[in-house]
Structure formats: C-alpha cells, structure tokens
Point group: C2
Chain length 351, copies 2
C-alpha cells in the first residue's frame, strides 16, 4: 500500500476529457490495490492564460514540484496559433514546465497493435511487429536557445546549442533502455551539416564503449524520416535531439493507426510527467469522441515510474481488452463508436 | 534550334552512372530537335576531394557559372560520414555550390505514379492522386548560420537565421506555382516555438493578399510530418525553410514507391541546377542496379527551365513508356530487373 501525490494538468481542448478517464483508471487501481493517490487538478495552457494571464501559474509549478508525478492532458488553442504577434502562448507554459522541472528526456514508445494494423495508412506487412522507443532530448537545442529579431526588424534568429552533459544524461537513459530491449540504438542527427549533431555523434560514439552489448547506428534525419516509414521494424531505441525528435516522433505515430493510442513520459532528475502525444484537438472538444487510451497508457507509464509494475501491467491488459473487444472511439470504429467516457469506464471496470 | 551549355557534375557513388543515362537522353533530344547541348563533366564531392583536396574546385564553380544549366548526379561517401572530425567533406561542396550560385529554391515534385502504387509502403487508397510540389528554401537557415564549438570545447552551436528578403523571394515562386496549379499553398513551420518561423508566417500572411486566388494554410512541422503520410493528396504546394524541407521532402519521397523516381530543381537568380533527390548510394555503385529515372526526370526539368517544353514533354512520355512497360530497375522489379543502362537506353530510344 502506497500513498502518492499526482498533480493533474488537464489543459485545453480534449485534454480535460481524456485526463478524466486516466484519473478514473488510476482511481480504480488505487481501490483495487489499497493505494492512496492524491490527485488534484491545476491550470496550465490556454485555460491558465484565460484565468490568470500566465500559461504556467506559480501555483501549478509548485504543485508539480511537490508531486511524485505529473499527469498532463494536452495544451493549445487555435486562437494563439493564428496570431503570430501574441505575446503569451499556451506552449510557453509547456516549455517552461519542461525546463523548470528539468524534464530532459521525452520517451515515446511506438507499437503497432495487431488488432489495429488495418487502421494504419501503411501496409500491414511493413509495420507488423513495430516496437520502438524514441528518446527525444527535451530541454535543450533550438527550443531553448536565444531567439529574437534583428535590430532593424527585417530578420529573425533561433540559436541551437548543446553541451556534452546535456547529451550524456539522455544518452545514458537511451543506452540503458536499449540494453534491456533488443540492444540496438540509432542516433538520428544531421552530422553532415550541423556542428551540434557532430557533438552528439562524438559523445555517443565515446559512450558506446561502456555499453558493448548495444549495437549503435547513425542515421541522418532526412534518411530517418524515410526509414521510419519504409522499414519501421528495423528500429529499437532511437535517440535524437529536441527538434528532430519532435518531427520524427509525430511522424512515427502514424504507424500505430491513431495518435490517440500513444503515451509519453518526460523524465528528469526529480519529478516525471506523463502525457498523450496528441494535441488538444480543439475541434473535438466536448463531443465525447476523443480517444482516452493515450492518456490511460500515459497513466500506465506513470505507475511504472512509481515502481507499481503489477498495477501498470493490469492497466495495459485492460487496454488490450478494450482493443480486442472493439471498445473503440470514432477514429478507430467509425460505424460503432464508443464514447470517450465509455472507453474509459470499460478499462477502469477491468482493473 | 538552340545551343546550350550544360555543366555536368556526376559526383560520387551511383551519381556518374545515373548521370550518364540522363546525358544520353539529353543527347537524343538534341539529335531529334537539331539542338546543340555542350555537356562537360566536372569534379564535385568526394571524387573532387580525392583528386584536388577540395570538394568544389574553382574550375567546377566557374564552369557552372558559365553554363545555362547544371546537371548533378549525387555526392557523398561513407568514409566521411563516419569520421566526425573530418575537416573536409563532400557535402561542403554541395552547400558551397548552392550558396555560390545563389540557388535559393529547391523544388521537388512528388507524384504517385498509378503503375507503381503497389510499390509504396502506403496503402493505395491513401496515396492515389498525390501530386504535390515542395518548395524548400536552400541557402539560408541553420545550414548556413554561424556554427562552432564553445570556447571550453564542451558545447556546440548552430545558428538559424532568416531575413524577410530570403523568405519573400522563394515565397513568390511558391505562390506563383500554386496559382498555376490547384491554388493551395501550405506553409510548414514551427511558429509555436521558433522566432524564424514566426517571421516566415508573418511574411507569407502579408503576401497572401497579392495572390487572392491562392488559399493559404499553416501547418506545424510535426503535424506536417504526420499529414504527409496520413493524407498526402491534401497538399498542392508546400513551402518551407531549409532544414524542415530537407526532412519532409525526403519523407514525402516514400509515397512514390522509390526515391529513384524523384527529380529536383534548385533555382536561383541566374543559373539553375537539376539533380535526383536520392543520394550517392555507395553500396550500389558499379552494379548497374541504380534507377536512372530520377536523373532523367531532372533532365526533363532542366529542359523546361531552358523553355524547351516540347522536348521535356517527350522525355516525360518516354519515362511513362518505360514505367508502363515494366522497364524497371531492381528495386521496382526484383524478379525481372533491367539495368541502369538498359532503362536509360530504352528511354533515349523513345525520344
Ligand atoms: C506544443 C509544442 C511546443 C510541443 C513541442 O514542440 O515540443 C509539442 O509538439 C510536443 O511535441 O510536445
Ligand atoms: C547532402 C546534404 C547536405 C543535403 C542537404 O541536407 O541539403 C541532402 O540531404 C539534400 O537534401 O540535398
């Protein structure tokens, strides 16, 4: 019996709806195992701007720091995207949260579920057996470098920087993960053009000696963008920098047949955060059509992070039950869809 | 009857083999129409390093400047990729060539050929009818910004910069292309994170008023990386900056079923360069298995650039004949492959 604090940041759009289902599943786990999960909602994103003017209010940040883990829904609102001059944006909250909590590694597993192979835009024989994990660096690179306009206002710049230490800490995580999986690590970079990529390659090459059981591969990002579609089963662990990771992990998500299935973990030295990889999908808000599975599997990753592995396995089994029995939201079952709520309750019921 | 100078840079790996076929086809065009194409080979890439120590010898650059158009094979050699400390690299030649000739716009059409739909890793119904053109900015951004190591040697940096003028000139090309096609332009950027992307969005938004017939769409690059696979037929003209263009144009190439089919043009204020999008594919060198069609279609784009449209159309028809009659290299016809030479000769024969 354990007692844990989980800070919940439902966010914007479909974020609150899918979070509610993940929370329901966590509650079912707590009841079943006699745990105590203290789960409180906090503001972040567009909803936080609307309420406080700040996408990441101090109270939210404090709550995250004091928590054992953070569960996030999704953030973002089109009213900010379409206004390039907006000074305050929901994304700033997310980026500041990552930076403030030191969440340097974003971990995204991509699996092709056999029962859903037909939903993928890719041919079945290409993707069957896909099982990769992408380790994306999350607090460095061009996301967090200096940026601005030139003095005369006619130009703009974004600086990309990386230090050896920033590369080392996430690379160690990725090497360890690979060692416990199929022992293959692929570094994705653009070392034929970028100096930062050459540093990544140097550091990873040096580290490889410490993990002799792991086979290391190097792929230019343009080639990787092709290989992920052409032959996804070749990958085990992919390691890459922030911007490339943003692009190729979203690209890789198409393999699974729906973004609504894919969870992620963002880990740092202290706290860790768990969120679906999908965005706030504002067009679907309030319609009960959002798939809660990505959020629920994020909760499973959260349980694993708390070393509640039996509990996590039970959540995964319950998700498999839903998939096998066709308890699916609209994008996966257009003719006989279940609602967000129904899918969540079905999974919680199985716990 | 015209007389033109074409500088030919066969380059490395399979570059010379596929270039030879494109040259053969251009010769057939010249004979058939009574034109004179003066085509001379020049060194660039790894072969130029081996011969002169410089990936882009001065003589090559001069020849390109004096030419009406440049035809390039491919450059690159793994011996440089695997040595992050190499001071001289084949890619530097290509980047310097682009910069010196001012080739600011890389134009990559991506078409799904009906006869080859089965070869795509994507399901037929997703890709049938795909017909997009990617306009990638080619002489700015993080490719050409300041780069280096920090003073203490523990860090590295790459600066991304863009000016309004750099954006304007390629955006005009893209808008004009869209106006002459299906009137849709999609800007791919990361305006929720990057200042340079916000500048792109501002400039394009301002310009849109000058092209009222063109519908403009804005897509974050991570989303674009998904949409290109999920629903490629939604795109007409895609406009994007250098690094994003590198990634998504290679990604989009999988739609066609083989990289060996896709040509590109890189245009500037004066001279223009034409090259297949595939790389030097060193493993295939000398085996006669490389597909010359991408190089031959690059020659067709070259002819269009010289305003020899009837001639270009004839080359395209000849390529279609080869595709329809199964005159295909190994990657598209593993059981009854034709050689590089045979495919080239077949196409030249049809002229
Ligand atoms: C919302 C945005 C800033 C964010 C990112 O680019 O990191 C998102 O795309 C993600 O991948 O979590
Ligand atoms: C070889 C490399 C420098 C080049 C690039 O990144 O521009 C290539 O990938 C391309 O797309 O032409």
């Amino acid at each position: 019996m354990v007692s844990k604090k989980i800070a919940v940041l439902p966010g914007d759009g479909i974020g609150p709806e899918v979070c509610r289902q993940a929370v329901k599943v966590l509650q079912a786990v707590a009841e079943r195992f006699g745990h105590r999960f203290e789960m409180r909602n906090h503001l972040m994103g567009a909803c936080a701007i609307d309420a406080t003017g700040d996408p990441l209010p101090e109270a939210t940040l404090t709550a995250c720091r004091e928590a054992d883990a953070v569960l996030l829904g999704a953030i973002g609102d089109p009213k900010y995207d379409n206004d390039p001059s907006a000074k305050v944006r929901p994304e700033q909250g997310l980026l500041r949260l990552r930076k403030s909590l030191g969440l340097y590694a974003n971990i995204r597993p991509v699996t092709a579920y056999d029962v859903l192979l037909n939903h993928s835009p890719l041919k079945r024989e290409r993707i069957q057996g896909t099982d990769m994990v992408i380790f994306r660096e999350l607090t460095g690179g061009i996301y967090f470098g200096e940026k601005g306009r030139t003095a005369d206002g006619t130009g703009a710049y974004d600086h990309c920087t990386y230090s050896r230490d920033e590369i080392l800490r996430i690379a160690h995580l990725a090497f360890k993960a690979a060692a416990g999986r199929r022992q293959k690590l692929t570094l994705v970079d653009k070392a034929n053009v970028l100096e930062t990529s050459r540093l990544w390659r140097e550091v990873v090459r040096e580290m490889a000696a410490q993990y002799p059981e792991v086979e290391v591969d190097y792929l230019f990002v343009d080639n990787a963008a092709m290989q992920i579609i052409l032959n996804p089963t070749q990958f085990d662990v992919i390691l890459t920098e922030n911007m490339f990771g943003d692009i190729i992990s979203d690209e890789a998500s198409v393999i699974a047949g729906s973004m609504g299935l894919l969870p992620s973990a963002s880990v740092g030295a202290e706290v860790a955060l768990f969120e679906p990889i999908h965005g706030s999908y504002p067009q679907a808000k309030g319609k009960g059509i959002a798939n809660p599975i990505a959020a629920i599997l994020s909760a499973a990753m959260l349980l694993e992070h708390l070393e509640l592995n039996t509990e996590a396995a039970m959540v995964r089994e319950a998700v498999d039950e839903a998939l096998h029995n066709g308890i699916l939201t609209q994008e996966l079952s257009p003719n006989a869809p279940y609602s967000t709520e129904e899918v969540g309750s079905y999974i919680a019921f199985w716990i």
